[in-house]
C-alpha cells in the first residue's frame, strides 16, 4: 500500500533577474550571451528546485532600458519557465527597475512566509536615472533587506560602484574575501556566474547545504552563507594549449 499522500510543507523562494537591456548590450553579442546564459541555466535550476522539496522556486524577470518593465511578471515555477529573448535598445533606467522590484516584494503581493528571495542584477553600464532613489525604495522593503543580492558586471564599462552598493558591503571574514560584484568578461564566465546564481545560490537559500567549520555560523555572517564561486575550469578550446608535445 502506498505511503500516505502527504507532502512536505514548503515555502516560496522568489528568484528575480534584473536585466540591463540598454543599447550598449547590443554590442559584441552581450544581449545574446545573456539570453543564452539564462536559457542554458534553466535545466540545472529546475534540478536544484526538484532536489529541494522545502522550497517552491518561482522566477521573475525585469528588463530595464529607457524604462523598466516586467519581462516575466508572474512568479513562474522554474520547470514551467520559457525564456523569451530580451532585446537591447535605449538607456539604463536601473533605479526604476529597483522600484518595480521593491513594489513586488511588498506583502502583499509577497507571501507572509517565504525563504529569502534572490535578486540578480546584471548590467554593462551606468544607471541613467536616479539609482539612489530606487535603491532606497528597495531597501525600505523588509523582504529586500532579507534578500540575497548578487550583481554581475558585464564587460569593462559596468559601474562597479553602483553594483557594489546594490549587493551591500560585507567586510572580509576569516578566510573569505569581501563580497564584490562578479565580473564577467566573456560569454563563458557570464554563463558560469548565471549557473552559479541559479543553482548553488538557490540551493543555499532553499535548503542549507553541508557546513564546514570555516563557514561562519554566527548570525552576523549574513542571512544566507553564499556557496563557493564556480571553479575556474580551464576551457581547452580557449587555450592555445601546449606549444610543443
Amino acid at each position: 500500500m502506498p505511503f500516505p499522500d502527504v507532502k512536505l510543507a514548503n515555502r516560496p523562494l522568489h528568484f528575480l533577474y534584473l536585466c540591463d537591456c540598454s543599447g550598449s548590450m547590443a554590442a559584441s553579442g552581450k544581449m545574446q550571451a545573456l539570453n543564452q546564459a539564462i536559457r542554458q541555466s534553466l535545466p540545472g535550476m529546475a534540478a536544484v528546485a526538484r532536489d529541494n522539496p522545502e522550497a517552491r522556486v518561482l522566477v521573475r524577470a525585469v528588463r530595464f532600458a529607457d524604462h523598466a518593465a516586467w519581462h516575466i511578471e508572474t512568479p513562474t515555477p522554474v520547470d514551467q519557465l520559457e525564456w523569451r529573448d530580451l532585446h537591447a535598445g535605449g538607456i539604463t533606467a536601473m533605479g526604476e527597475a529597483l522600484k518595480l522590484v521593491a513594489a513586488a516584494l511588498q506583502t502583499p503581493p509577497m507571501e507572509v512566509r517565504a525563504l529569502p528571495p534572490v535578486l540578480v542584477l546584471i548590467s554593462d553600464g551606468q544607471p541613467t536615472d536616479d539609482f539612489a532613489a530606487g535603491f532606497e525604495a528597495l531597501l525600505r522593503v523588509p523582504w529586500a533587506q532579507k534578500a540575497v543580492r548578487l550583481a554581475i558586471a558585464l564587460g569593462h564599462d559596468a559601474d562597479l560602484e553602483v553594483l557594489q552598493r546594490f549587493i551591500g558591503t560585507e567586510p572580509a571574514t576569516a578566510g573569505r574575501s569581501p563580497r564584490r560584484p562578479l565580473q564577467a568578461s566573456n560569454a563563458t564566465s557570464l554563463a558560469q556566474y548565471i549557473q552559479w546564481a541559479s543553482t548553488a545560490v538557490v540551493g543555499a537559500a532553499s535548503m542549507p547545504a553541508s557546513r564546514v567549520s570555516e563557514t561562519p555560523l554566527e548570525p552576523a555572517a549574513g542571512n544566507i552563507p553564499l556557496p563557493d564561486l564556480p571553479p575556474t575550469v580551464l576551457d581547452l578550446t580557449d587555450d592555445v594549449g601546449p606549444l610543443v608535445w
Partner: protein, 451 residues
C-alpha cells in the same frame, strides 16, 4: 556543467595499472564532481575534488586513506575504494590549474533514487519499504558506530532508496572519521545538525550522528521536520538566523509531551499529524527520547541498537486493514482502528517465536533474531515469509525460505513436511518445527468483527 575530467577520455592514475575511462559526468556541487568510469570492464564512480574543497579540509586525504584501509562497515555504504591522483601523462588533461585528487567508489545502481524524492512525495513507496529503509539506515549507522567511526553529515541528500525493496545506499562517506578524533572540517547540514554542533559548542561525532539519524528517520517516516511546528510558522523569513533559533537556540520537538509551544499546524503541517499516529508507541518514544531529553543531553539520545530493535518490531506488528488494505502497525493485544479508513482491525493470526511475535500479513518475515537471543536484528536473510494463497488471497501461508525441510503439525496432531520453497497454510497449523526453532501459530481469541 563544465566537466573537470574530459568525458570519453582514458586517464592514467598513480597506482592504477590500467587506465580509467571517463564514461560521463553524473553531477557536481561545491565540493567536486562525480563521474561514471570504467576500469577494465567494471563500472565504478569517481568523485573528483575541487581545489578549494581540498584547501579547506586539510585532513581530507588522510581521512580517505584511513577509510579505504578500514573498508566499509556494511554493504549499504558507497565506500571509498581507492584514492586517485593523475599520472604525470594525464595531468594536463585535467582542466584545473591546481593539483587535485579524487576517489573511486561503487557506482550507485539506477534503481536507487535520492531520498528527497520521497520527502517531496514523488516516490511510489509503501510504509513497509519506508520502515525497512529506516531499519537499513539504523543498521548501517550501528555498524559504523560499532567500528568506532562517525559519519558527521547525515542528511536527506546523502541517502538513496530503492522503493521496491526499501533498500538503502549511503553516499558521501568522505567525512567519516574515528569518533572524537576530529579530523575534518564538516559540521553537518543545518536542519539535521545537533543543536550543540549548530551552536558551536561541540564538534560532530557519534552523539551528534544519533541526533541527525533521528531527524532523518523522522523525515522518512512522516515526510515532515521534527522541529517545524507553530514556532516555524511564526518566522516570516526562514534564513540563517531564524534556522539557528529554531534548530539550535530554542529547539522544541513538535510532539514534545511536556512542551506544546511547537505543535504542528493542522493545515501547514498536516503531514506530521497524519503520519505520526501510524507508528506504535515504543517507536514514538524513541523520538521523544532523542528530541526531548536528548535535545540538550547528547548522551540520552536513542542509540542505533534501540532504533534497530524498535523498527524491526514495528515491521513484525504490520497488519493489513481488511476494509481498505492499508498497512497498520498494531500494538499487541489492544483492539484498534485502521489509521486510514477507521475500520476496526480484526485480531490477526500471530506467529509466536522464541524471541518475539510476528503478525501474519503478506510479506511479513521471520529472521534469525526471532529465534536466537544473541543474534542482532538483521532483515537481509529471511528464514520464512508470510504469503497469500495465489487463488484465495484471504488464506495465508508461511513459506519455508530455509534450505532444510520443516515439519508442520496440524491441530489434530498430523505432521506434514514443508520442503524448502513450499508454503503451509496457517489456518490448519498449530506449530511448525524449523531448524532455527519452533514457530507456534496463535489464532484470534475473539471473533473478527467482519465475521
Amino acid at each position: 556543467m563544465n566537466w573537470i575530467l574530459p568525458e570519453g577520455a582514458s586517464l592514467g592514475f598513480e597506482g592504477l595499472a590500467a587506465p580509467l575511462q571517463i564514461i560521463r559526468g553524473l553531477g557536481g556541487g561545491t565540493q567536486g564532481q562525480v563521474y561514471e568510469v570504467d576500469l577494465e570492464g567494471e563500472r565504478l564512480a569517481l568523485k573528483w575534488y575541487l581545489p578549494a574543497c581540498i584547501a579547506r579540509d586539510g585532513a581530507l586525504e588522510r581521512r580517505l586513506e584511513a577509510s579505504i584501509r578500514a573498508t566499509a562497515p556494511n554493504e549499504d555504504f558507497l565506500w571509498p575504494i581507492a584514492l586517485l591522483r593523475a599520472s604525470p601523462a594525464s595531468r594536463p588533461l585535467i582542466r584545473l590549474r591546481q593539483e587535485s585528487f579524487g576517489y573511486l567508489m561503487p557506482l550507485r545502481p539506477t534503481a536507487y533514487v535520492g531520498a528527497c524524492e520521497h520527502a517531496a512525495g514523488r516516490l511510489a513507496i509503501g510504509l513497509r519499504q519506508v520502515l525497512r529503509a529506516c531499519f537499513g539506515l539504523a543498521d548501517a549507522f550501528h555498524a559504523l558506530h560499532l567500528a568506532g567511526l562517525c559519519y558527521k553529515d547525515v542528511s536527506l541528500g546523502n541517502l538513496f532508496l530503492e522503493p521496491g525493496s526499501g533498500g538503502i545506499l549511503i553516499c558521501d562517506n568522505d567525512n567519516v572519521a574515528v569518533d572524537g578524533a576530529d579530523h575534518g572540517a564538516v559540521l553537518g547540514t543545518p536542519g539535521f545538525m545537533a543543536p550543540e554542533v549548530l551552536l558551536g559548542q561541540a564538534r560532530p561525532g557519534a552523539d551528534s550522528d544519533l541526533f541527525s539519524l533521528a531527524v532523518l528517520l523522522f523525515r522518512l517516516l512522516t515526510r515532515h521536520d521534527p522541529l517545524k511546528g507553530q514556532m516555524e510558522l511564526a518566522i516570516r523569513c526562514l534564513d540563517e538566523p531564524a534556522r539557528r533559533r529554531l534548530c539550535g537556540e530554542d529547539p522544541v520537538f513538535i510532539f514534545d509531551p511536556l512542551d506544546d509551544r511547537n505543535r504542528p499546524d493542522p493545515i501547514e503541517h498536516a503531514a506530521a499529524l497524519i503520519t505520526w499516529p501510524i507508528y506504535p508507541r515504543p517507536l514514538q518514544a524513541l523520538f521523544e527520547q532523542t528530541f526531548c531529553r536528548g535535545m540538550k543531553q547528547p548522551s540520552r539520545r536513542a542509540l542505533t541498537g534501540q532504533w534497530k530493535q524498535e523498527l524491526a518490531r514495528t515491521l513484525d506488528r504490520r497488519a493489513l486493514c481488511p476494509a481498505c488494505g492499508q498497512e497498520n502497525f498494531q500494538a499487541s493485544g489492544a483492539p484498534a482502528l485502521c489509521w486510514s479508513c477507521g475500520a476496526p482491525l480484526p485480531e490477526p493470526i500471530t506467529l509466536l517465536l522464541p524471541h518475539g511475535a510476528v503478525l501474519a500479513a503478506p510479506d511479513n518475515e521471520l529472521h534469525a533474531h526471532h529465534f536466537d537471543a544473541l543474534a542482532g536484528e538483521d532483515l537481509r536473510r529471511p528464514l520464512a515469509r508470510v504469503v497469500a494463497h495465489p487463488q484465495d488471497h484471504r488464506r495465508l501461508g508461511l513459506r519455508n525460505l530455509q534450505a532444510t525441510t520443516w515439519s508442520a503439525e496440524t491441530h489434530d496432531g498430523r505432521v506434514q513436511p514443508v520442503q524448502p520453497g513450499e508454503s503451509c497454510s496457517l489456518a490448519a497449523l498449530a506449530r511448525i518445527q524449523s531448524p532455527a526453532g519452533p514457530i507456534a501459530v496463535q489464532r484470534p481469541t475473539r471473533p473478527s468483527p467482519a465475521a
